[in-house]
Amino acid sequence: MKFLCLSCDALMTLAGVEPDEGSAGLTFTCPGCGASVAMLANPGEMQLVRGLGVTVGGPSQAPRPAEAILANLAPGSHSCSTWSGEAEKRLERVPSFARPMAREAIERLAQEQGVSEITPAFMDEARVQMSRGW
């Protein structure tokens, strides 16, 4: 997308990006007369830009490996909790095909409750809490 200043017949240039909860305000200025316009991009448009792995206006530093993947992961798609050895052992008792789902559900609950380490006691608690949802 480009903005053309009709008075000057000049391409307006990006002057700033102000992110706001997923959406963003993009300001463009005419290099001839100094007139400005703002484009208000909705969250879907900004999500598409992020999905492509690019930054409007260019990145502030050289990209790190897998930067876009890590930036685009939804909360809960990567774990912020650690598992104690006992909890890991207990998880091993869940059949392998169901283990990822169980792990994810417990981690999500831990994240929601701000629990940093998953222990057998937390697994007991999680079991009770999750069974209430059925």
Partner: protein, 290 residues
């Protein structure tokens, strides 16, 4: 008023330049790879990942330098087949691949999500097919470009089931040396594979051939094989449409476990994988790569 095309420049968004730099990063990385081979099938559950992993192992046993990229973001199988749960960190050259059996360098999004095999990948933001597609493509391209593969003879890409999106898949991977399709012997499977072959051909990708998986099951006692879907239909059909048949692999339970697992794989089964691998390499050689 001038049109979009008549107005030069990107107004400072830098997006076109960033996309160009991404392509350059990918090209630089793949310049050190002899051949990128894509394993694909429009059908799920046909054993794409299993066949691809065993072909990779067959190559690596013969001292080829082999990498494997798990492009099946939502159904990753390579960690379970090749490495077990693992994570990848960033080193000086990029993401460190996880080393599997026979030195195969493996990269999967599971290694980046922080909890091995447990990740159920979801992108942030509102679910939308277009946005998810863009994020998926970007993720595969980024793993290809950012993984420190080093010098490889073969980079094997395991893909999710696709038909209509074959063009997207090929665009993500760049310029593969060829595509290997995997099918079951059932008509339901290979009919769809035939359709998919046409779609892949339209992308300009070179079809190396088709592997027929789970052709038969062997008796545990005497080893006699019982065909599951009749004899010779896939090979004959492919011959009629001019697509190379790369070979058939009977079902063996050991093939579905980790490659370094305890279930022994019979030498005869491994030899068949070697034959399939030889045909793939021969097809690559016919066009001068690797």
């Amino acid at each position: 008023m001038r049109t979009y095309r008549e107005v030069a420049g990107d107004a400072g968004s830098d997006i076109t330049a960033q996309l160009g730099r991404m392509r350059d990063r990918l090209d630089d990385r793949l310049a050190r790879v002899g051949a990128v081979v894509v394993f694909a099938s429009p059908k799920g559950g046909v054993g794409k990942s299993t066949v691809a992993a065993h072909v990779a192992a067959s190559l690596a046993r013969r001292e080829a330098r082999v990498g494997m990229l798990d492009a099946d973001l939502y159904g990753s199988s390579l960690p379970a087949l090749l490495t077990g749960p693992a994570s990848s960190g960033a080193g000086a050259q990029g993401l460190e691949p996880v080393i599997g059996p026979h030195g195969i360098k493996v990269m999967s999004v599971d290694y980046l999500t922080g909890h091995g095999d447990a990740a159920c990948l979801r992108w942030s933001g509102a679910p939308s097919p277009a946005l998810t597609g863009a994020a998926d493509a970007s993720a595969v391209r980024e793993m290809l470009a950012d993984t420190a593969w080093g010098d490889l003879d073969f980079l094997i890409v395991d893909t999710p089931p696709v038909t209509g999106k074959a063009g997207d898949l090929i665009a993500m991977v760049g310029r593969p040396a060829g595509v290997v399709m995997v099918t079951l012997p059932s008509a339901l499977s290979y009919q769809v594979v035939l359709k998919s072959l046409q779609v892949f051909r339209e992308t300009g990708a070179r079809i190396l051939g088709v592997v027929e998986n789970m052709t038969a099951v062997a008796c545990r006692d005497c080893g006699a094989e019982t065909s599951l879907h009749g004899q010779g239909c896939v090979e004959e059909t492919l011959a009629l449409v001019g697509v190379p048949y790369l070979g058939g692999l009977p079902f063996h339970e050991g093939a579905f476990g980790p490659l370094s697992g305890e279930t022994p794989i019979p030498a005869a089964w491994r030899e068949r994988v070697d034959q399939v691998t030889n045909r793939i390499v021969a097809r690559l050689d016919m066009r001068g790569t690797p």
